[in-house]
């Protein structure tokens, strides 16, 4: 799900950096308030960013010669709130991009927006909306699932519009497959498999760490 550099045009990357930068600034402010008001918050935030970093390394193969991974957006959104979740995922993505070449440096805004912002806010608002309408387990599952599928839509659109916008004499300059290919391939695989994996990760992690959240944010 990490868009590498060169797969979307520099103009697309810069537009996404411009959209996402103010969100980073606001997310940072929220996280800093959190850390200043609670001595233990930084340990919890660090742990959750480390979790996002590691869970994204666990590539799960699916038929058709491809693979995917959970992001942790559901668990982070529900345990930390959407702004801190977005910020933690962004930090994990930043280290992945600059140290491990996983996801582009210029495309970092696009990846942070899709997996961090859309993923975390999609999960969070799904969870809040259905809090009293669904069983908690089902709600946890579906909130992770929804965040993941929404994030995959953003990635599929960003890649799929490239050949429509940037082609020279019949050849794509950047990613060559258009929306008719990227939507079924990327969104389809997230609806069928990776959304469910994110959903299961959300249930497991929130169950395991719910008491940590309560203790840290009790006062």
């Amino acid at each position: 799900m990490h868009i590498p550099d060169g797969f979307i045009s520099p103009s697309t990357s810069i537009a996404m950096l411009a959209i996402t930068a103010p969100l980073w600034w606001y997310g940072f402010k929220k996280v800093k308030q959190n850390i200043d008001s609670d001595d233990n918050a930084s340990t919890f935030l660090s742990s959750m960013a480390a979790f996002a970093f590691m869970v994204m390394m666990i590539n799960i193969p699916i038929p058709g010669g491809t693979s995917g991974h959970a992001v942790g957006m559901g668990a982070l959104a529900i345990l930390l709130g959407p702004w801190a979740a977005f910020f933690c995922i962004t930090i994990a993505l930043f280290f992945q991009a600059v140290i491990f070449g996983d996801g582009g440096v210029l495309a970092f805004g696009a990846n942070s927006f899709a997996m961090g912002f859309i993923g975390a806010f999609g999960s969070y608002y799904f969870y809040e909306t259905f809090k009293n309408k669904l069983s908690n387990t089902l709600n946890l599952f579906l909130s992770g699932y929804t965040g993941m599928v929404l994030a995959s839509v953003v990635i599929a659109v960003l890649l799929g519009i490239q050949p429509m916008l940037f082609s020279e004499s019949g050849k794509a300059v950047y990613f060559p497959f258009d929306l008719s290919v990227t939507i079924p391939a990327i969104v389809g695989s997230h609806i069928l498999v990776f959304g469910a994996i994110e959903g299961l990760a959300t249930i497991g992690v929130v169950r395991f760490l719910a008491h940590v959240k309560e203790k840290i944010y009790a006062n």
Partner: protein
């Protein structure tokens, strides 16, 4: 502070990370640029020479086995996360 739960949680994650090596295939679309040659008959011009050189590309550390590379990469990611948020905490004074 329930530090113990967080340590157990991160150790479980750390133990699970090598499972990511089972998949030989990248995510859909995240192919090496040579593979576009096979798929569409050319390498898109904008993909050539894009990106920067990173210290540990693809979580593979030269001369180390894939499992050690992955574990060390996961450890680096974890340590950096802690350094980052701890530095925010320190900077408040």
């Amino acid at each position: 502070m329930p530090t113990k739960s967080l340590i157990i949680f991160l150790l479980i994650m750390f133990a699970l990370v090598p499972l990511g090596l089972i998949s030989e295939y990248p995510a859909w679309g995240e192919w090496g640029i040579e593979e576009f040659q096979t798929m569409v008959g050319y390498i898109p011009q904008g993909m050539q020479n894009a990106g920067i050189d990173t210290p540990i590309p693809d979580y593979e550390i030269h001369s180390l086995s894939p499992i050690w590379s992955t574990l060390i990469s996961a450890a680096i990611g974890t340590v950096l996360s802690f350094l980052f948020f701890t530095s925010i905490k320190k900077s408040k004074k």
